[in-house]
Symmetry: D2
Subunit: 257 residues, 4 copies
């Protein structure tokens, strides 16, 4: 319902903050973006990592050239269980559209446009249509490779980390995430807490993205995660899904966008 709601809100002259994904198909997404554009309202999508202090610091070092030529991006993004519960109707979109889309956005934001997507996945035990764990390889236009791994059933809980490996140096983002910095040392070893879920992990980023939205509305400037970013990430997610279904590389066609 996201795209439809965005369209109606835009027509009513409302600025819109929309959670990801903007849409489940590109057509609906494009209509929503056009509606916002035609109405002159601000449209921001909920790619909160663009506002997370860790990721922002990485982006800054990357842009400053500290890493050198980028060779590889690796993003791990895992849930303990589907955050919205089981999706028997398919209305939430596949793992690619529901989860990987965050990583697709980060791939574009940090490294650049993608030339081809290759996806591999395993289905859930009780529903062969439902992808549960996926490994995606992206080929960037600049020559780098990208690896994304996603799962909905990581026994140990939520995780979200990334690595940008370059010819000069390498960045690791979110390697030591912990909700509190408190270690318990017992006879069995040191026990270090891990984040329970994405809310706890990205708490600051959720606040910052909303502040950014308010600021964009106030000043009329374009949001850092806008409608076009939402469309591009959706296309990447759908390309990965098609690659998985058809067991072949899927090339991205940037000219058509």
């Amino acid at each position: 319902m996201h795209a439809e709601m965005v369209e109606r809100a835009a027509r009513a002259g409302k600025h819109v903050f929309c959670e990801k994904p903007l849409a489940l198909d590109p057509g609906a997404g494009r209509r929503a973006v056009r509606a916002a554009s035609a109405a002159g309202v601000c449209l921001q999508v909920g790619f909160q990592r663009r506002f997370d202090a860790d990721w922002v610091a990485a982006k800054r070092r990357l842009d400053a050239g500290e890493v050198g030529d980028v060779l590889l991006l690796h993003v791990s993004h895992r849930n303990r269980c589907p955050p919205h519960g089981p999706d028997r109707t398919g209305r939430l979109g596949s793992l690619f559209v529901d989860m990987s889309i965050h990583d697709m956005d980060c791939a574009r934001w940090l490294i650049g446009e993608v030339r081809a997507a290759n996806a591999f996945a395993t289905a859930a035990r009780d529903d062969a249509r439902d992808v549960e764990t996926a490994a995606i390889v992206l080929e960037f236009e600049g020559g780098a490779l990208g690896i994304i791994d996603n799962t909905r059933v990581a026994g140990y809980g939520f995780d979200c980390r990334a690595e940008v490996m370059g010819r000069r140096s390498t960045l690791r983002i979110g390697t030591h995430q912990r909700p509190v910095d408190l270690e318990l040392l017992t006879q069995d070893g040191v026990l270090v807490p891990t984040p329970a879920d994405h809310i706890e992990r990205h708490r600051g980023a959720y606040v910052t993205e909303i502040r950014h939205f308010v600021e964009c509305v106030r000043t009329g400037s374009a949001p850092a995660a806008g409608g076009d970013d939402a469309l591009a990430a959706l296309e990447l997610s759908l390309a990965a899904e098609r690659s998985y279904r058809e067991k072949r590389p899927v090339e991205l066609c940037h000219a058509l966008r």
Copy 2:
């Protein structure tokens, strides 16, 4: 000027949030506490660690008995330079009153009352009266030992961490503090960022303590870091200072308080 300001504010019927230390001498501190009490206003002091998520989680585990009998508390609390600049007039109090007072409060809050304080210190190179680095050993009434180390000239920057070692297990607080969770891997090794100062380190705690103050004012409940806590920590700091000056253990006299 803290104590005097608290006294005047209390007489004017204002609730007071006062930064530590409440006073430089116990007499003035006691007058301020009495004034707040007489006026029926809320008096909270800025011991922000009592509101820091890491320390609060440790306190909870400690109170739940997870550590067993406490054997040792160790607090490291260090600045790169005096946060208020050099104190040529002595108006800011010694390192014991200006810095250690935070650790004295934590000692009481986490472990309990102190029986005796023993302090050792080195003076600054350019001002023999000014204590620059100190090692304090506390003997708790419950039998545990406490070690506090403070300095104003830690070259690597601000640090604030603690360990509670028990007969069953041990807690480590703040071991991995970093402003962002971003590592840079270079030929020279992994570079992990560290907090620049106490503001960055305790940002969340500063917000939480003010929220707590507002809540106390609203509901009339007693603040978690009140005037009596401020006095007790001050007495401990002054006992440490005396121990250092007179090169002998200084016993705390709780009956007199």
Copy 3:
């Protein structure tokens, strides 16, 4: 020359410890294995991770079922520069045969047989035939996915780590490798040393594998990394290389081995 040397040594009745890869093509490898078998000598290959304390401990926990169903294996294996220098003649084999072969062996050892290999890579800047960085996705017969990333030009130095993600819990191997446990804290952050190369990283494993070889020779027992393991890893490496060249998944045919 490995396979040829193994063959001649076996015929001379010598027990053989052979560094990986056993051969650059399966035919030569099979002849070497057959020669060792016919001569009744011990043939061990240098897959030292099978003797590394970290990896062995992981294998033990995995076999004990602590991880639950395995969802994903991820191995990162990177060099700062080609360990044998540039290979203008192709005699050392591609990155897949020279480097990935270690990871292929670990994949089989830890998780099980592989059904299909999919490889993506980038060529070196000065020699389009020479693969420099690769991302490989393995599909295991048991249903799990495997990701291997390799490079010969990781600016920050040698790295070798792995993760086995399961439905119950997850294992991380070699996350904190450091030659000495010594941190330097400076104004710029904490500097943690990293291993310079594979010799430093796996020093203990190299000793243990040779001890194992001696023990096998002495007792006549089969080595933990034998000729068949060498052949299987080689086939996986060649399948990955073919997948990369032909831009398609390559299925492994275990019946033919």
Copy 4:
């Protein structure tokens, strides 16, 4: 019996490697050192940290001036239980002589001579004479402070780490000791293994110190941890013990040694 055995061995013309402590009283220790000297044999004592890669790397950086003026040394050295079992007869020496002596040697080795020792301790629950946990503050001749904390009953197991804080930077030794680099991630957090005992923690150092002894015997050179070091560490341990018993600082008299 150490000192007596050393004396007899020396008289028999044998080179001697003696575990710490060399003696329980300085007189016996001095006789042993003199006997070795008179016989012209090599006498090395088991201060294995002087041969541990982590500590040696720290010593090197310290000597290179990387830390700047040393402000503080902190050594934590803890056992889960007395390594030799309960000492009902007192023949093993107090915690100061049995455990702290290692830390006293490190203090001298890393920082320099000590001017005064101040010790605080708690007795075991079942034997008031037996010190169980101690906090020792050393005042170095060069102006730095030293903190040593020891215990025989750390519930979580063996630990041995140190920090050298300087005006420029700070070194941390042994912060991340783990027998294997393998993390288990579960719903409860990340579980990191810790060393079980000093054998596991210092395995490499025990080998290196014996090699060093053999080398000294062979070449006739003086061992890096000789009889004088053993005596100096014993005097420091006894000074700490006296400080604890007499509740006062105990000055070290280097002229008399």
